[in-house]
């Protein structure tokens, strides 16, 4: 049973990486949800023992290589996010559905702020436009996303 859920965890993370790679155009590209973060949040709440900071670090480094972004940028913010969740995951498991959705939004915002800060430091540019669309779409998609993963999780 444990092995199966491990398969599901890694399978869903790899699937989310594929979703992140799809070359959308126009608005879809701008508003694309941060799939990897959603999967990582879900599993670090549901299966904190299997979905640790090391796993998050590993997959974020893969994302950095796939995106060609600054090495360790996604890793830095993702590890911080999993750490935050590990501190509060018992409370997160108990909270109501809507509160959890809001928390997901807050975690993603925190993640975005960290990444934008890294961009700012590494590029020395002042005019940074923060793209908030992915957070909005991620929050909108979260209920359905959680439903699907819950179903998969409890079937196995």
């Amino acid at each position: 049973m444990k092995l199966r859920s491990l398969k599901l965890i890694h399978g869903s993370i790899i699937f989310s990486l594929i979703l992140m790679l799809i070359p959308w155009s126009g608005w879809f590209k701008i508003a694309q949800p941060y799939w990897l973060a959603l999967v990582v949040i879900y599993w670090s709440i549901e299966a904190p023992r299997q979905m640790g900071m090391l796993t998050a670090f590993f997959y974020s480094i893969l994302l950095d290589v796939l995106y060609g972004s600054l090495f360790g940028k996604h890793g830095f913010s993702m590890v911080a996010m999993v750490f935050l969740i590990s501190k509060i995951h018992k409370r997160l498991k108990m909270t109501s559905f809507w509160q959890l959705t809001l928390m997901v939004g807050a975690l993603l915002l925190n993640d975005l702020v960290i990444r934008t800060f890294i961009d700012w430091v590494s590029m020395n540019k002042e005019d940074f436009s923060i793209n908030l669309w992915p957070i909005l779409t991620s929050i909108l998609i979260w209920p359905w996303f959680k439903y699907v993963l819950d179903r998969l999780n409890h079937r196995f």
Binding site: G68, G72, G75, K87
Partner: protein
């Protein structure tokens, strides 16, 4: 009785891994500022990500396959005729060009200037595009294994697209000329005045904030690469001036330009091989042959 103690050590462990991983990330980010250190690491990790890239490419390849197999005979025939017409036109142009280039090289000999070297290019497909305002790049399906190196110029049929920025095993990251962090040394085709062209973060807009005050510029002027700095070969079309701006700074004129390359609709790009790269490419098989 021991449970609280246990959770305590667990959380301390957490903090330690957290700090350790964050420090690793910071070290990686600092190391990433020089391509030499992280390029091999990237290349080896990208071997792991290669299947993912292939999966994402798959629908595109299936589409192309279906498109070529299903497209009508009649369509192919008309396309064939069109292409033949284009080819004959191109051949006639080429004949004229030969005479012109002959004259050109004679003139250059008279002037003792350097010859423009013919470019060797190979085609590469675009795997992924990012056109966000802060970071504009494309990812192409050729990389370390094909001999792609950091700094190589990338063109499409209309003009300069960008420059290879990071190289993975089977693909490469190309920074576009419209990226805010990118500049190209250019010269005006008409007057020969040299300046730099900077990206603005918008796909159809480049800026030229440093045109000398003495230079005479007008809308429609074509900009070509000057070859200075050695990043781009000389004489490639980059952009066309579309607006001359009022400048508060008295020492420079400012203008904006539209990139010649079709950055919005490209599917395929051309990688330019400089002489060094070509030699490298030729050397490789020999090295393999010796042992």
């Amino acid at each position: 009785m021991w449970t609280p103690k246990n959770t305590n050590t667990l959380s301390q462990n957490n903090i330690l891994t957290f700090l350790l991983l964050e420090i690793i990330c910071v070290v990686l980010m600092i190391a990433d500022h020089s391509a030499q250190i992280t390029a091999p690491v990237r290349a080896s990790i990208s071997a792991l990500t290669y299947p993912l890239v292939k999966i994402v490419e798959l629908p595109q390849q299936v589409y192309q396959f279906i498109n070529t197999t299903v497209s009508d005979q009649a369509d192919l025939l008309t396309e064939n005729i069109e292409l033949k017409q284009k080819l004959s036109q191109a051949q006639i142009d080429l004949l004229q060009m030969e005479v012109v280039s002959q004259q050109n090289s004679e003139l250059r000999k008279l002037l003792h200037t350097k010859q423009l070297l013919p470019l060797k290019t190979t085609a590469a497909f675009i795997v992924n595009i990012n056109t966000g305002k802060n970071n504009q790049y494309i990812i192409i399906n050729q990389g370390f294994n094909q001999g792609v190196t950091v700094g190589q110029s990338v063109l499409d049929l209309n003009g300069v697209v960008g420059q290879v920025d990071k190289v993975a095993l089977e693909n490469a990251h190309v920074i576009l000329i419209t990226n805010k962090n990118h500049a190209v040394p250019v010269e005006f085709l008409r007057t020969g005045v040299r300046t730099f062209i900077y990206g603005t973060g918008e796909l159809d807009n480049l800026s030229l904030p440093e045109i000398p005050q003495s230079a005479e510029i007008k809308v429609g002027d074509v900009l070509i690469t000057s070859g200075y700095g050695g990043a781009f070969p000389a004489g490639l079309k980059v952009a066309t001036i579309n607006k001359i701006l009022d400048s508060s700074d008295k020492s420079f004129q400012r203008a904006t330009a539209k990139p010649s390359a079709n950055l919005k609709l490209m599917k395929q790009v051309l990688l330019v091989w400089s002489l060094e790269n070509q030699n490298h490419e030729k050397k490789q098989p020999e090295e393999h042959a010796i042992p």
